[in-house]
Amino acid sequence: MPESKDIRGIERHVAEIIIGELKLEDVTPDTFNPGMDLVDELGIDSMDLATIALVLQDEYKIVIDEDDYPKLKTVRLIAEYIEEKLAAKQ
C-alpha cells in the first residue's frame, strides 16, 4: 500500500496512476489539477476508469464497486472515496 494515507498523498498517488495508465504527457503528479473533470476534460471513459480502478484496488486493498464509477469524476473525488474505504476498513 502507498506510504502516504492523508488525502493529499492519496490524490498525488491517484494522479500518478492516471498519468501512467493513460500515458499522459506534459503533466506530473504535482501539476495535475485534482479538481479536473476526468470525463469532460481528460476524455476518460468507463474502460479507462475500470483499468484505473483495478490498479487502485490492488494498491489500496479496497473494493471499488462498478456502480460507484459515475461518482469518481475527479482525482479529488477518487481520493476521498479511497479515504472513506480505508476508514471503513479500520
Binding site: 504527457e25 506534459d26 469532460d40 481528460l42 476524455g43 471513459d45 468507463s46 474502460m47 479507462d48
Partner: protein
C-alpha cells in the same frame, strides 16, 4: 497536456458534453430464427446461427429481458431472423428497455403499439441488386409501410455493384421522407461479383462523402466513418480480431485486453446461446465491413483521438452519428 478544453472551442465542447453523458450499454438479441426472406450473403443463415431451439414462452422472454436490464443494458438491438414476425417479444423488449428493431420492412410495426420505437430497414441496393440478392425489391413494400415515419431510417448496405449508383437510391429514400445510413456488404456467402476490390472501396468513400454533402438532411453519417469503413484503418491501426470492440464479453479471451463495448453480448433466440460478435462467427474479421462494429471501434477509442482538434472532432461526429441512429439525440 491535451484536454477537451485545449482542443475544442465552446461549441464543440458542448457537443462533446452532450454525448459523453450518454453512457450507452448495448447488446444484440436474435429475436427469432425465422425470416420471411432468404438473402444471399445474410450472415445469420450462412453461418448456421439459426440452428438454435427458439424460446417460445413469452414469460421466459420477459424474465430474460428483466435480467438484461438489471445487468445494465440500456439499448436493446433486435435482429434475427426477422423481428417483426414476433411482435409479442418485440413488445416485451420495448416495454422494458430502449429498443431498436432491425427489419426488412415487409411487415409494418404498428405505431399504436410501438409509438416511438426506432426501426432500421435493411436495403441492399437498387431494385435489381435487391432481386439478385434478396429475391425481391423490398423497397417497393417497405417504403409504403414506413413513408414519413419519424422513427425509421434505411440501413443501406452498399454492394460493389452499387458504386456510382447510390444517388438514385438515396433520392428515393429522401422522397419518401425517411433518413438513410450507409454501410458496406460483407460478402459472407461469396456471391460472384459482390466482393470488394480496393479501387471500388476508394471510389465508394468519395461517393459516400458526396452523398452526405448533397443530402445532409437525409444521410446520417460522417466522413471520418466513411474513411474508416472503406480503408479498414483508424489512427494507423487495421481493423480485425485484435481490434474489434463488438465481441461478446464472456467469449472475449483476448490478451492483452482489447478496448471494447462494456458488457456487450449477442444472444441467440434460445436465450442461452451467445454468439461470438455482432455478426457472423464464420466471418474473417480482416474482411468484415460491419458498420456498427466500425463505428463502435472508433467510439471506444476516444483518447486515441485526443491528439488534435480535427481528430477529436471526427470522433465526436461519429459518436453523434451513432446517437442519432438510435435517436439518443435528435436528428
Amino acid at each position: 497536456m491535451k484536454t477537451v478544453s485545449t482542443l475544442l472551442d465552446a461549441e464543440w465542447r458542448e457537443r462533446y458534453r452532450r454525448i459523453s453523458s450518454l453512457n450507452i450499454r448495448s447488446s444484440i438479441y436474435d429475436l427469432t430464427c425465422r425470416c420471411n426472406l432468404r438473402c444471399k450473403g445474410c450472415f445469420f443463415f450462412s453461418s448456421g446461427e439459426h440452428h438454435v431451439q427458439e424460446e417460445m414462452d413469452i414469460r421466459k422472454w420477459e424474465a430474460f429481458i428483466d435480467r438484461e436490464k438489471a445487468r445494465g443494458v440500456n439499448l436493446a438491438i433486435l435482429i434475427g431472423g426477422e423481428p417483426t414476425l414476433c411482435m409479442d417479444r418485440l413488445e416485451a423488449f420495448y416495454r422494458r428497455i430502449p429498443t431498436y428493431c432491425a427489419t426488412n420492412g415487409l411487415i409494418k410495426v404498428p405505431r399504436d403499439r410501438f409509438p416511438d420505437m426506432m426501426v432500421g430497414i435493411s436495403l441492399w441496393g437498387g431494385g435489381e441488386d435487391e432481386k439478385i440478392l434478396r429475391g425481391r425489391d423490398t423497397f417497393a413494400v417497405s417504403s409504403k409501410n414506413y413513408e414519413g415515419d419519424p422513427y425509421t431510417y434505411y440501413l443501406y448496405t452498399v454492394t460493389p455493384k452499387q458504386v456510382g449508383k447510390t444517388e438514385p437510391v438515396i433520392r428515393r429514400i429522401a422522397d419518401c421522407g425517411l433518413k438513410v445510413h450507409l454501410q458496406l456488404l460483407s460478402n459472407d456467402e461469396g456471391v460472384d461479383g459482390f466482393s470488394w476490390r480496393p479501387e471500388e472501396l476508394s471510389d465508394l468513400r468519395f461517393e459516400m462523402d458526396e452523398m452526405l454533402d448533397r443530402y445532409p438532411r437525409t444521410v446520417i453519417s460522417s466522413k471520418y466513418y466513411h474513411e474508416v469503413i472503406t480503408t479498414g484503418m483508424m489512427q494507423g491501426r487495421r481493423f480485425g480480431w485484435r481490434e474489434c470492440p463488438s465481441v461478446t464479453e464472456s467469449l472475449d479471451t483476448r490478451q492483452p485486453p482489447v478496448r471494447r463495448l462494456i458488457h456487450f453480448y449477442r444472444w441467440g433466440a434460445d436465450l442461452q446461446t451467445v454468439h461470438r460478435c455482432c455478426t457472423s462467427a464464420t466471418r474473417d474479421c480482416s474482411t468484415c465491413k460491419d458498420g456498427a462494429a466500425h463505428m463502435s471501434w472508433i467510439m471506444v477509442n476516444k483518447r486515441d483521438h485526443m491528439t488534435s482538434t480535427k481528430d477529436l472532432q471526427n470522433w465526436i461526429e461519429v459518436y453523434e452519428m451513432f446517437a442519432k441512429l438510435y435517436r439518443l439525440i435528435p436528428w
